[in-house]
Amino acid sequence: MSEATYYVLASLLDERLHGYGIVKKAALLSGGAVKLTTGTLYGALDRLVGQGLVDADGEEEVEGRLRRYYRISGKGAEAVRDEATRMRRAARAVEPRSGRAAIQGGGR
């Protein structure tokens, strides 16, 4: 799962959002590290909708701008939580206390 995909799913966990709503939420969640471009966002959304991880959920027109909303599916929520678990495990491998330091200490 790419970083963009991960943050698109993560931003939809709490609420349904439209395109730019996802961009802002992803930036917020990642502390500004993930700046989704429109091209990347819709590439990810098209794929996620195709895979059934995200569903389109209504649309409205605001000041002449078409806003289509998206919400995460049960399958999508499961996928992003699995990914989070995997990354937590990966992080543990390099974090000083729990993993590597202990192993290195033990080796000496």
């Binding site: 799962m1 790419s2 970083e3 963009a4 995909t5 991960y6 439209h18 395109g19 730019y20 961009v23 590290a33 993930v34 700046k35 471009t37 429109t38 091209g39 990347t40 966002l41 819709y42 590439g43 098209d46 649309e59 027109e61 002449g64 701008r65 078409l66 806003r67 289509r68 990914e83 995997r86 990354m87 990966a90 992080a91």
Partner: protein
């Protein structure tokens, strides 16, 4: 809903069908972002161009990039075969319109470039909507005829139009025999590559296998014309060999780069934990 011109231009790289169905939504998201930043973003424009191009090239359907490479190689063989036939049969074996000083030179170059574009348009069109695909397929045969007929006749008889197209038919058999057994399958495969846009093959594996076979065949053909100076009309033949080879390589490089874009983009950043 009529989109502001700036956003219509920004979305031009996307296939027309996608622009119609998704354009308004993408434009709205772009506009929201521009409002926040207070200015249009070059980064956004670049990402849209890359994404749209990748979609056109059929990013989701692997094997398309290979088809572009195959098309380049096949065209290279055809040009080589034509150069030989044109010299022997149209100009009496004395000169070639490929000569830099020849009056038909720029015509040939310009039409050659058209041929590159149209041949690439077969696979490119396949990723677009059906209307685009039909146009690409319909344009391919006439442009082929134009490319291979007009320059030679232009020099000799100042003929254009139907006459030059009919004259092309005289050359075809010589072209086929001239470049040995390779030109005939190359011609057949070139037609197939152009036409396959009409009805994309359903099974990805079969498509990949065919594309790979085309690349192998094209490679053999090109290498053969590249390394044998005595090969009539080949890339190593004559004073213009360098320029012809350079043109081919440059065009090939561009198309291979486009093909690489297709292969790489969807597979970028495989792990979420890797980025910062």
């Amino acid at each position: 809903m009529r989109l502001p011109r700036r956003y219509r231009v920004a979305l031009l790289a996307y296939p027309a069908g996608y622009r119609v169905t998704r354009g308004p939504e993408l434009a709205a998201t772009l506009a929201d972002g521009d409002d926040d930043r207070g200015r249009p973003s070059m980064r956004e424009a670049g990402a849209l161009a890359g994404r749209g191009l990748a979609m056109r090239l059929g990013a989701a359907r692997s094997g398309e990039g290979l088809l572009v490479v195959a098309a380049v190689l096949i065209l290279a063989t055809l040009l080589s075969g034509f150069a030989w036939a044109e010299r022997v049969y149209l100009l009496g074996g004395t000169a070639s319109v490929w000569s830099t000083g020849g009056p038909g030179f720029w015509w040939t170059m310009a039409l050659g470039v058209c041929a590159w574009v149209v041949l690439a348009a077969g696979p490119l069109g396949a990723a677009g909507d059906p209307r685009r695909r039909r146009i690409a397929v319909a344009l391919t045969p006439p442009l082929f005829l134009l490319v291979f007929s007009a320059p030679g006749r232009l020099v000799i008889h100042d003929e254009l139009g139907l006459g030059s197209i009919l004259a092309y038919l005289e050359v075809v058999p010589h072209m086929i025999t001239g470049n040995g057994v390779l030109t005939l399958p190359a011609l057949t495969l070139a037609t197939w590559v152009a036409l396959r846009g009409l009805r994309p093959l359903s099974e990805a594996g079969r498509r990949r296998a065919l594309a790979a076979a085309l690349v192998v065949l094209g490679s053999i053909a090109v290498v053969r014309t590249l390394i044998r100076p005595d090969f009539p009309g080949g890339y190593a033949d004559g004073a213009l060999a360098d320029l012809r080879t350079a043109t081919f390589l440059a065009a090939a490089a561009v198309l291979v780069a486009l093909a690489a874009l297709v292969r790489l983009r969807p597979r970028r950043a495989p792990a979420a934990g890797r980025g910062r």
